[in-house]
Every structure is written in structure tokens, then in C-alpha cells.
């Protein structure tokens, strides 16, 4: 079965410093992986997705993630944090097929706090 584990429930950084949110996945085949962000009182928004093309994936708002099969990881990074990045982040795997019959399996989430 597919699953994801987010290694940190809470990450705190200072504005302007790098962000690293860690995610490990479990999959019996090459997975489709995503990062979603959830701001308070707003809907989930897709940051980026990996679907077996380039292993370094660039997303919106300066975020990127690298798929590392040998480490079964899909960590999310950003070179310089902004106050507006403070939110809940979810690592997600597509389970049960690569098409639209598959379903999203969410990790537990990582709360990113950005200090001024």
C-alpha cells in the first residue's frame, strides 16, 4: 500500500532563511507525489507534483522538491522563507493507479511557522 510520512509536525524558521519540510514515502511502484499547502480558512492548494518525469520539481511561490528513489524521500525546500509561507503543508501520494481513479493519501501535515 502507498503511504507518506511527514517527519516533522512543526517547523519554525526565520524570515529569509531556508525551508526544509521532510517527507518519506512507501510505494511498491513508482509513485505520483504531491505537496499541498493549506492556509488558515482557505482551501488546499497544489504546490507541485512529481509524476515520473524530472526528479527535481519546481512549484509555485519558489518551492521545489526532489524525488529520491534511493532514499524514498520527497522533501520540500525553499531558499528563503517569507512571512506569507506560514501555513500547513501536506505531502501526498496518489494511490490505486496513475489516473483519475486513484485517490490521494495525505500525510499528517507539517505546520510551518515563519518568525520575523
Amino acid at each position: 500500500a502507498q503511504s507518506v510520512t511527514q517527519l516533522d509536525s512543526h517547523v519554525s524558521v526565520s524570515e529569509g532563511t531556508p525551508v526544509l519540510l521532510r517527507c518519506n514515502y512507501s510505494s511498491s511502484y513508482s509513485p505520483s507525489l504531491f505537496w499541498y499547502v493549506q492556509h488558515p480558512n482557505k482551501g488546499l492548494q497544489l504546490l507541485l507534483k512529481y509524476t515520473s518525469a524530472a526528479t527535481l520539481v519546481k512549484g509555485i511561490n519558489g518551492f521545489e522538491a526532489e524525488f529520491k528513489k534511493s532514499e524514498t524521500s520527497f522533501h520540500l525546500t525553499k531558499p528563503s522563507a517569507h512571512m506569507s509561507d506560514a501555513a500547513e503543508y501536506f505531502c501526498v501520494v496518489l494511490y490505486g493507479g496513475s489516473g483519475n481513479t486513484g485517490k490521494l493519501i495525505f500525510g499528517q501535515g507539517t505546520t510551518l511557522q515563519v518568525k520575523p
Partner: protein
């Protein structure tokens, strides 16, 4: 383009009462999803519709939860009777769907349910 609409945004009920949530997906989106997000956890898929047919309802507690998508557009999710553990945010999402490659899911703002 208009996003996924949900109502109400907040609902407080007592246990054993009934409650219904409404979702209007993005125009033209064939696939509609209902998720349950308990505080401190990632969203969990409850049910997936393709047009007005159910694709996956394996995680839906059918003794108390029901959902319908008449005419393949709007959808309602009902809980009857509610239990304390149903307190959560209920998210609706939609996507183009289809039989091809995976299409992005777009999420609504959610309905926060509190059961007292």
C-alpha cells in the same frame, strides 16, 4: 474562474442530530470528492463521484453518512445521526476527471463541523 463552493462554512450541532453539507464544483468538472479532515490530521477521502456515479466509497461510514450527486453537478453530504467523533472539516474537491492522466483536484474552503 470560480472555485469550488461549499456551504455552510461552519456548523455546530448536538450529537444524534442530523446535518447536511453542500458543494458546487468547478463548472465542467466531472469528478467530485468529499474528504474528512480531523484536527491535526491530513484529509481522508470519504467518497468519489464520476459524474453522478460513485467511484469509491470504501471509507464512507455508510451507517450514518450518505452522499449524492444528482445530475452530476452539485453534491450533498449528510450525517445522520452525528457522533462526537464526526467533528472535523469536510472538504469538497473537484477535477476534470476522465480516463487519461491524473488531473489536479481543486479544493473548496471546507465546512467546519462541531458536534457537542
Amino acid at each position: 474562474e470560480a472555485g469550488v463552493a461549499q456551504s455552510p462554512r461552519y456548523k455546530i450541532i448536538e450529537k444524534r442530530q442530523s446535518v447536511a453539507f453542500w458543494c458546487n464544483p468547478i463548472s465542467g468538472h466531472a469528478t467530485l470528492y468529499w474528504y474528512q479532515q480531523i484536527l491535526g490530521q491530513g484529509p481522508k477521502l470519504l467518497i468519489q463521484f464520476q459524474n453522478n456515479g460513485v467511484v469509491d466509497d470504501s471509507q464512507l461510514p455508510k451507517d450514518r453518512f450518505s452522499a449524492e450527486r444528482l445530475k452530476g453537478v452539485d453534491s450533498t453530504l449528510k450525517i445522520q445521526p452525528a457522533k462526537l467523533e464526526d467533528s472535523a472539516v469536510y472538504l469538497c474537491a473537484s477535477s476534470l476527471g476522465g480516463t487519461g492522466a491524473y488531473n489536479e483536484q481543486f479544493f473548496g474552503p471546507g465546512t467546519r463541523l462541531t458536534v457537542l
